[in-house]
């Protein structure tokens, strides 16, 4: 009983205690919970981090190796290209040197050959000199001719004058105009007068017989109306009797164009030409020149015409093995096994034939 009373006395305290404990537990629960969470989280985090670190290290190693490998590959490629570029530059430079020399030589020898140009210019000056001399000679010759002509014309004029003025000749009694007594010797005109024959009246040029004839004096020179230098000889003074045909008709008949018949117009070998023309036309229109042969077995044993491009002295090059199927029976082995024995059999047959021994013996023997 006492215990009960004790217990009962303790009961409110118990309740309180219980309540207090629950509350404190409650209070601490959150705290403890949080603490546990914290510890767990730290630990888990630690574990994960360790794991990640481990993974990182591993990955680093892998990547290290891989990148090293790539880099070395790339480096090798770079070195190869750099080397290649160096070589090409070197080759280019050498090629430039060669080309420089060659082009300079070529241009100097053939395109802008200085010495040839010099010779050419010298030749031109020499030629010019020759041409100038020749032209000068030509001009001098022409001058001389002109002078001669002028002189001759003057002479003729003088002669004509002298002949016209023949009456001025001096006589014994009366001295002429050109033979003055105060002169030492007679004037040259006087001498001319003495030499010349008097002009007869008939030779006066006929001026007025061209009334009926019209010419354009104002615009053309005299030579137009008498075009030929010498006058034509008179044709007996009798006009030919008409009636005359019309000039246009005469000309038309005289200059009638040729109108040949078809036979004349065609050339002599026109038939052959026409035939050849037909042949050529047919040849042109044909696709190929092979004769049509109606027998079909002709085509069976046709020889293969190899292409010119791929044939050489040493046989034909193949087009390529990849696409065109090329059959080389000689290279087949499967046949050769049989043929090998066949060959052997043939040999044996020969031996058998000539030595007339049995096959088996021969087989055993060889």
């Amino acid at each position: 009983m006492a215990t009960l009373a004790r217990l009962q006395a303790r009961l409110p305290a118990l309740r309180e205690e219980c309540f207090r404990r629950n509350r404190s537990v409650d209070e601490y629960r959150k705290k403890e919970y949080k603490a546990a969470v914290k510890i767990q989280s730290w630990f888990r985090g630690h574990r994960v981090r360790a794991y990640i670190r481990y993974l990182n290290n591993v990955v680093i190693i892998i990547q290290k190796w891989w990148r090293g490998y790539q880099g070395r590959r790339y480096f090798r490629k770079m070195v190869a290209t750099a080397y290649f570029i160096m070589k090409m530059n070197f080759y280019n430079e050498m090629a430039v040197r060669i080309q420089k020399r060659w082009r300079g030589y070529y241009v100097r020898k053939y395109n802008y050959n200085y010495y040839a140009l010099k010779k050419y210019l010298e030749a031109i000056s020499v030629n010019n000199e020759i041409v100038r001399n020749e032209l000068k000679e030509y001009a001098e010759m022409k001058e001389k001719e002109k002078k001669k002509e002028d002189l001759e014309k003057k002479e003729k004029e003088k002669d004509h004058q002298a002949r016209k003025m023949h009456y001025l000749l001096s006589t014994e009694q009366i001295a002429g105009v050109y033979n003055s007594p105060f002169r030492k010797s007679p004037d040259p005109m006087e001498l001319l007068l003495r030499k010349s024959k008097p002009l007869s009246h008939k030779q006066q040029p006929i001026k007025n017989h061209l009334i009926g004839e019209l010419c354009d004096w104002s615009n053309r020179s005299r030579s137009l109306t008498c075009p030929t230098a010498q006058p034509l000889p008179p044709i007996g003074r009798q006009k030919p009797q008409g009636p005359f045909r019309d000039t246009a008709e005469v000309l038309r008949q005289r200059y009638k164009p040729l109108e040949p018949t078809l036979r004349v117009a065609a050339s002599i070998n026109s038939l052959e030409k026409a035939r050849e023309e037909i042949k050529r036309e047919e040849w042109r229109n044909r696709i190929h020149d092979n004769e049509f042969l109606p027998f079909s077995s002709y085509h069976k044993n046709e020889k293969y015409d190899p292409s010119v491009h791929r044939s050489s002295k040493y046989g034909q090059e193949t087009y390529g093995i990849k696409h065109f199927r090329e059959v080389q029976p000689k290279k087949w082995i499967a046949d050769k096994v049989n043929t090998f024995t066949k060959v052997r059999e043939n040999e044996l047959e020969d031996i058998f034939k000539y030595k007339s021994i049995s096959v088996n013996e021969a087989l055993a023997g060889s």
Binding site: I124, N128, I130, V131, L214, C215, S221, L224, A248, Y255
Partner: protein, 523 residues
């Protein structure tokens, strides 16, 4: 009795008509009478006389009409308006040769004035009858017909084509072969008039085989014939390379060169024209001419002539030199530059001077060697003075400027460039200073000369915009010399430009002389 009286009346009338018509024809041959005749209404009176019964009156009337129409184009138009042409054309085919000559003369006189009148002649169908006349026996008729056709074809290419379509060209080629000189002349002149308009017409003439005959006639001694023949060949050759080659193939070289020595001025001119038309097409043709010695002949020809006769020769040299530098050098060594230079100085006409300037520009523009040859002949100051002269025509100025530019861009001969520094205007000065800036950095003797002749001083006086090409050139030149000299000269030029007193100028120039001498010793 009365019959005789009646006949007498008619005879009187006929005599009166004959007298009238002959008198009119005589009067019409003198130009001072023609206005009076026109005012007196001679056209209306002559027209019925054309239809007269008596042939001589017809012919004289036609002759009188022709002379009147020849005088001026009003009268020619009156002839056309008076419907005289169809009548003439009809009777042209029927009548005798004197009438044909007179009628062809009328047609020619009408057709020569203007294209419209010539068109009127073509429209009344005169061309066919004229072509028929070309086939006549009488050379005078042929000549009159050919002359008329030539005057019609002269105006433009349509009329030429009409003449060709009428079938005149083969007959003209036949006419050329006739022995009469006058007929040859006229036929050659007609062919020249036909072929000058277009390449097709020229080709038609060539196809008729004219070139061979024309080429043979170059050797003929008659001067007027040579003129026409050379003119015809040059009109054919001018259109295209093929035609020029055809002309050359007729073996005119070197015969044509003798024409350049002829005593007649126009033969020389036409010969030079022919050579020019051939030379201008391709370098190969020019080469051919040079190899045949044509350049020397043309140069001599230029030297011996005066005035417009020189012009084709000058242009020929220009064309030859323009093609390539070898040909230009050939012109130079054939002593081509002195005649061109004298042309520039002597001639009065601007267009000849312009042509000479152009030719010199073509000669000197290729390489420094060429420019030097041109500069040594003292051409540049002349060109500059022509450029600067106010009287020069625009064309002359443009051409001299171009020639100067072309030569200066290649000229490295400094003694010739020096005098130009002082007078040149800014746009030319740019090129001169540019040339100096190219040569001076490399040549020490030239630098010394440049300073002593006062060129450097002049360069300092030039005002240029900073950043312009001229300024760059000036800087390049200044960089060739040590600082003090340049500064002194700049000061000197500034003082000079400020127009200080004489004393200061002298002092400065003395100072600069000392500097120069010391500089020259060090250089």
């Amino acid at each position: 009795m009365s019959q005789r009286q009646v006949l007498q009346v008619f005879e009187q009338y006929q005599r009166a008509r004959t007298q009238f018509v002959q008198a009119v024809a005589e009067l019409a041959s003198r130009s001072q009478n023609i206005e009076t005749l026109q005012n007196a209404g001679v056209m209306a009176l002559l027209r019925p006389l054309l239809l007269d019964v008596v042939p001589t009156i017809q012919q004289t009337a036609a002759l009188a009409l022709g002379r009147l129409a020849n005088y001026n184009d009003d009268l020619a138009e009156a002839v056309v308006k008076g419907d005289i042409l169809p009548q003439l054309v009809c009777s042209l085919s029927e009548q005798n040769r004197f009438y044909k000559k007179a009628a062809a003369f009328v047609l020619r006189a009408v057709g020569k004035h203007s294209p419209q009148l010539a068109q009127a002649i073509v429209q009344c169908g005169a061309l066919e009858t004229l072509v028929i006349c070309l086939e006549d026996f009488d050379p005078g008729v042929k000549e009159a017909a050919a002359w008329a056709l030539g005057y019609i074809a002269r105006h433009n290419s349509e009329l030429s084509q009409a003449v060709v379509d009428a079938g005149a060209v083969p007959l003209l080629v036949l006419c050329i072969q006739e022995p009469e000189i006058a007929l040859k002349r006229i036929a050659a002149s007609t062919l020249s008039d036909i072929s000058k308009h277009s390449p097709e017409l020229a080709q038609t003439v060539v196809d008729a085989g004219a070139i061979a005959h024309l080429a043979q006639m170059i050797l003929n001694p008659d001067a007027k014939l040579k003129r026409q023949v050379l003119s015809a060949l040059s009109q054919i050759a001018k259109h295209s390379v093929d035609l020029a080659e055809l002309v050359v193939e007729a073996e005119i070289f070197p015969v044509v060169l003798t024409c350049l020595k002829d005593s007649d001025e126009y033969v020389k001119k036409n010969g030079a024209t022919l050579i020019r038309e051939i030379a201008k097409h391709t370098p190969e043709l020019s080469q051919l001419i040079v190899n045949a010695g044509g350049v020397a002949a043309v140069i001599d020809c230029i030297g011996s002539c005066r005035g417009t006769v020189r012009l084709p020769g000058i242009m020929m040299l220009g064309y030859v030199a323009a093609h390539s530098e070898n040909l230009s050098m050939a012109v130079i060594i054939s002593k081509g530059i002195p005649p061109l230079c004298t042309c520039l100085i002597e001639e009065n006409e601007d267009h000849i001077k312009a042509a000479a300037a152009w030719a010199l520009g073509q000669v000197g523009r290729h390489t420094p060697e060429h420019a030097r040859a041109v500069a040594v002949a003292n051409v540049l100051p002349i060109l500059l003075s022509l450029y600067m002269e106010t009287h020069s025509s625009e064309d002359l100025q443009v051409k001299t400027k171009k020639a100067l530019k072309n030569i200066l861009q290649k000229c490295t001969y400094l003694p010739a460039l020096e005098p130009l520094l002082h007078d040149a205007p800014p746009n030319i000065l740019k090129h001169i200073v540019g040339q100096f800036s190219k040569v001076l950095p490399h040549d020490s003797k030239a630098r010394r000369l440049f300073v002593t002749t006062g060129g450097l001083k002049k360069v300092q006086e030039i005002k240029a915009e900073p950043g312009s090409l001229l300024q760059e050139y000036i800087n390049t030149i200044n960089n060739c010399y040590p600082e003090e000299i340049v500064r002194n000269l700049m000061l000197c030029s500034c003082w000079c430009s400020c127009a200080l007193g004489m004393f200061n100028k002298f002092a400065v120039s003395f100072i600069t002389e000392d500097c120069f001498s010391s500089y020259l010793i060090t250089v």
